[in-house]
Symmetry: C2
Subunit: 206 residues, 2 copies
Amino acid sequence: MGAHAVRKSYGQGELLFSEGDPCKGLHIIVRGKLRIFKSSASGREQVLAVEGPGGSVAELPVFDGAPYPASVSAVEDSQILFISRNDFRSFCLAHPEVALKMLAVVGARLRRLVGIIEELSFATVRQRLASVLVRLAQTEGKRMGDGIEIQLPGTHQELAHQLGTVRELVSRNLMRLQAEGLVEVEARNITVLDLPGLTAILDSSS
Amino acid sequence: MGAHAVRKSYGQGELLFSEGDPCKGLHIIVRGKLRIFKSSASGREQVLAVEGPGGSVAELPVFDGAPYPASVSAVEDSQILFISRNDFRSFCLAHPEVALKMLAVVGARLRRLVGIIEELSFATVRQRLASVLVRLAQTEGKRMGDGIEIQLPGTHQELAHQLGTVRELVSRNLMRLQAEGLVEVEARNITVLDLPGLTAILDSSS
DNA sequence: TGCACGCTGCGACTAAAGTCACTCGCCGGG
DNA sequence: CCCGGCGAGTGACTTTAGTCGCAGCGTGCA
């Protein structure tokens, strides 16, 4: 009866499973950070979500039994709680409020995916980049004398994967924002000098 | 106690609700066809899904109470069964298996969204177009002497919205496929002459 | 009959995205 | 100390996407 959970550990960069693999069960993050992503034949990647402690991964195939629609890897060393498909199903049937909770979680993920679709089909790389910079500035930005200091979560390559583009465009667009006086770039540390100006980029139709 | 459902009717093109509206409840399609879509400031649209009879719409905000993430309009005259948010919630709590069913439905939608993201970030307009042609040929295509006859579900404009692009590109790419001898275009009726060739477009990395 | 409107086909153009091929600087291991 | 690898910057180029403006065509309706 007690949820039969198994503890698992993954090292940085390790793959939990790949797109297309049959679904074994639900993964809950105890410690660390996971990256859900799609990869293309030509080596490109598109990150769908990054989940931290308390988050879960692969909720959906648990319910329809179909294979995983995307791959998941560990961004950093992580500890995972694993619950098999059947155990979780019966747990949901016994506790309907848990099922509703799951619906809320899946709903939130759905919203984020819709957001990604919106950005991919309506926004330029420049706008998407500005978008993450604004988000970073608003959440983990440190107010300094001359602006807000933020720091990129990973390499340009990784950021490119999140934006659905390539490294060079990230680099170039960052430089362009700097040339326009909106930000100051020093490697991975960025100072946002003109947040309103940066925000204005988000809804410029031209 | 019995699920308090209301019948509603919508004419062709009518809007059921817009992105950002507060969520009232769940919509189930009795007859007709609904289109879930996002629209941008500059008038562009991206179709997220088209649902037919038996399908439902706006499942997710029912559970988290947040506003609708996208807009929904009727593609053709439609009859809808509407269930208010609270009625449906309590119904789910009383019948856990219904909640699980909903999870499966939402899961399927999630899968489709992931598919859209994949196409948007990895595939060209040409490939996406070829993709829908192949899908149409495989589902509702009529085998004729010289090929498979299919017919576009709507105008080029509408198809463009589904592909996340503009009318002209649909027109041009169709013409190009014709020039290459893969299809024959006569207005909205298309004859697929070389299905393997068309399929080959889908995974050409260059 | 003919006019208006919606759908489609182009041509020419601009802009954005992506590719290739390199250079440079930094850091860590041999 | 030198080397190798990785991340980053950059110029030049190709390809794809998107924009603008307009012409042709059919259908329906006055």
